[in-house]
């Protein structure tokens, strides 16, 4: 396998982002769950000792030839830093049982001045990024997750209530967005300072399954754009936007949000490449649930090849799943995807 590996992962990934063809397509999987499972850990054991997660990522990168390491993301760490209680299940992702802003009036009680080096789980998350950098060196880019203002507002308020607020009290929604954007920017800068090369977000509460285009344009788009603008002005990082669910009517806005990489769900990559491929890198999109989790290696190979056929030409492409890879995905399916990237994904210069 090694013979086609002419570049380091960093060179390969950044060549692709620059829309030049590297030696082969970069292979990038949202790999928190895989790292935990394949190393025999649980979420619980990782929370108890972040070094175990660093080792797990290192193992995954080495054995599966992945080109990007992922931090142990915990988007609700923001809710916690702002005062909510965070639940850490033994073997599942962390979550917040009770939104902080059940009562709108409580917005006055929120102290938006967070300190990522002190508050809640944030210092732990940042230490893991530093640990990854120390363990993996310069050659492997690190990708770290955070939450954009609209999603953060939804989580703090509860999605149903925030959606109703958009209809009945848009001024309150703006007030909340103005409040949360500052800690979002602060945390994003802290991720960059800790060593993240790529910042990741997803915004599943703002897609076309949930809100209309005009609402997206008013309540989500300008805030995400400003957030990434300020983080990038602070440090030269790249940005991945995972468009979870259906985003077909709003890629025009998303691609104007200081975003470099679109990690897409179920869309036609050929069409996306045609419309936006010259300004953005496309990452995707083997189906994670139907194929990686529940399908056969043959199905994985077929879908991975189709993705490469549709979007790899000219660079600007990472081979990936259509979402985070689920916890119990069989190793042979992950291998099938990787193998396809290593062989079929070679660029013929």
């Amino acid at each position: 396998m090694g013979s086609t590996q002419k570049l380091t992962s960093r060179e390969r990934v950044f060549e692709a982002i620059a829309h030049r063809e590297p030696d082969r397509v970069p292979i990038v999987l949202g790999s928190r769950e895989l790292a935990i499972r394949y190393s025999g850990n649980t979420f619980g054991s990782i929370w108890a000792d972040g070094r175990k997660y660093v080792e797990a990522q290192a193992m995954l990168i080495e054995q599966y030839h992945l080109d990007v390491a992922y931090d142990i993301w915990c988007t609700p760490a923001m809710d916690e830093a702002l005062g909510a209680h965070l639940e850490l299940p033994e073997d599942d992702a962390p979550w917040v049982p009770k939104p902080l802003l059940k009562d709108k009036k409580d917005i006055k009680k929120i102290n938006a001045k967070i300190d990522p080096l002190k508050d809640g789980r944030m210092p732990f998350l940042l230490d893991v990024i530093k640990g990854l950098r120390a363990r993996l060196g310069h050659d492997v880019p690190i990708s770290a997750w955070m939450s954009p203002p609209f999603r953060t507002a939804c989580m703090l308020r509860g999605s149903s209530d925030l959606y109703l607020d958009m209809m009945l009290d848009p001024t309150f929604v703006k007030e909340l967005l103005d409040l949360v954007i500052e800690p979002c920017i602060v945390y994003g800068k802290a991720l960059a300072d800790a060593g993240a090369d790529i910042i990741n977000i997803s915004n599943p509460v703002a897609n076309a399954d949930c809100i209309k285009y005009a609402h997206y344009k008013e309540f989500s788009h300008p805030y995400t754009k400003r957030m990434f603008g300020e983080i990038k002005a602070h440090k030269d990082v790249k940005v991945t936007f995972h468009t979870c669910g259906n985003w077909n009517d709003r890629f025009d806005l998303v691609t104007e949000e200081n975003v470099d990489i679109l990690h897409v769900d179920k869309v036609d990559l050929a069409e996306l490449k045609k419309n936006f491929g010259s300004k953005i890198t496309i990452m995707g999109n083997v189906r994670t649930v139907d194929t990686l989790l529940q399908g056969t290696p043959e199905q994985v190979v077929a879908e991975a090849k189709a993705s490469i056929d549709k979007a790899a030409k000219g660079g600007g492409f990472f081979l990936s799943g259509d979402c985070t890879v689920p916890l119990d995905t069989p190793p042979e399916n992950v291998r099938a995807l990787v193998e396809t990237g290593l062989t079929y994904g070679v660029y013929n210069h």
Partner: protein
């Protein structure tokens, strides 16, 4: 009062629900009551008729979740005014439903819409919330003695929980006491049958019909 005028007011109520005219619904409801339209007719021929259209438009991506929630809230505002007028056998007696999102699953927007419509249709609904383990479902069946237990599952990875809960109810000798319905985006009728549920509904309007059917049996 003439039938035509009654129909006109009922249509206006339906329209207010569809458009989410929450500031106008009170006056319209007053007018309907004042003109002697039967409370159950206001609900069934006015409000729920509107909500059925909302369900269809949502399915066709012509309406989105904020608009749907506002429609549901508009309808609820009217129902709250009508409730005191309903006879004993119209309301409350309709039946009791316990509902929750299964373990490992945090989605609740759809479940909340189902709850609003069930309450409108006169059911008492006990909402267990999200991430509910089988023991908690069983305990609620034991203590609240509902007619129907509803489970919502939105992830392919959590839908099997429905089956586990049903098996657990059987083990605890509670299955015979309650009808079970399931719902959520990745589910369908054949999955529901397979996992031993008594019913499945694709959306909230259908869920109301389903509960009525399950309670009648």
């Amino acid at each position: 009062m003439g039938k035509a005028l009654q129909m006109e007011i009922l249509d206006q109520l339906a329209d207010a629900v569809i458009e989410g005219k929450i500031t106008e619904i009170e006056a319209l409801t007053q007018e309907a009551i004042g003109r002697g339209i039967a409370p159950m007719d206001i609900i069934n021929l006015g409000l729920l008729k509107g909500m059925t259209v909302v369900g269809k438009r949502f399915g066709a991506s012509e309406m989105f979740i904020p608009e749907v929630l506002l429609s549901a809230k508009t309808m609820n505002t009217s129902v709250e005014m009508i409730k005191p007028l309903l006879l004993g056998d119209d309301l409350g007696k309709a039946g009791t439903v316990v509902i929750g999102t299964v373990k490992g699953d945090l989605h609740d927007v759809g479940k909340n819409i189902v709850i609003m419509l069930l309450e409108t249709a006169g059911f008492e609904v006990i909402d267990l919330g999200i991430d509910i383990p089988q023991e908690e479902f069983a305990q609620a069946v034991r203590e609240k003695k509902p007619d129907v237990l509803g489970m919502s599952a939105m992830l392919t990875t959590t839908m099997m929980e429905c089956k586990k809960v049903i098996e657990f109810l059987e083990k605890e000798n509670l299955r015979g006491n309650v009808k079970v319905m399931v719902g959520g985006a990745p589910l369908n009728q054949s999955f529901a049958t397979q996992c031993g549920a008594d019913g499945y509904a694709e959306d909230a309007v259908e869920a109301v019909e389903l509960v009525k059917k399950l309670v009648a049996h």
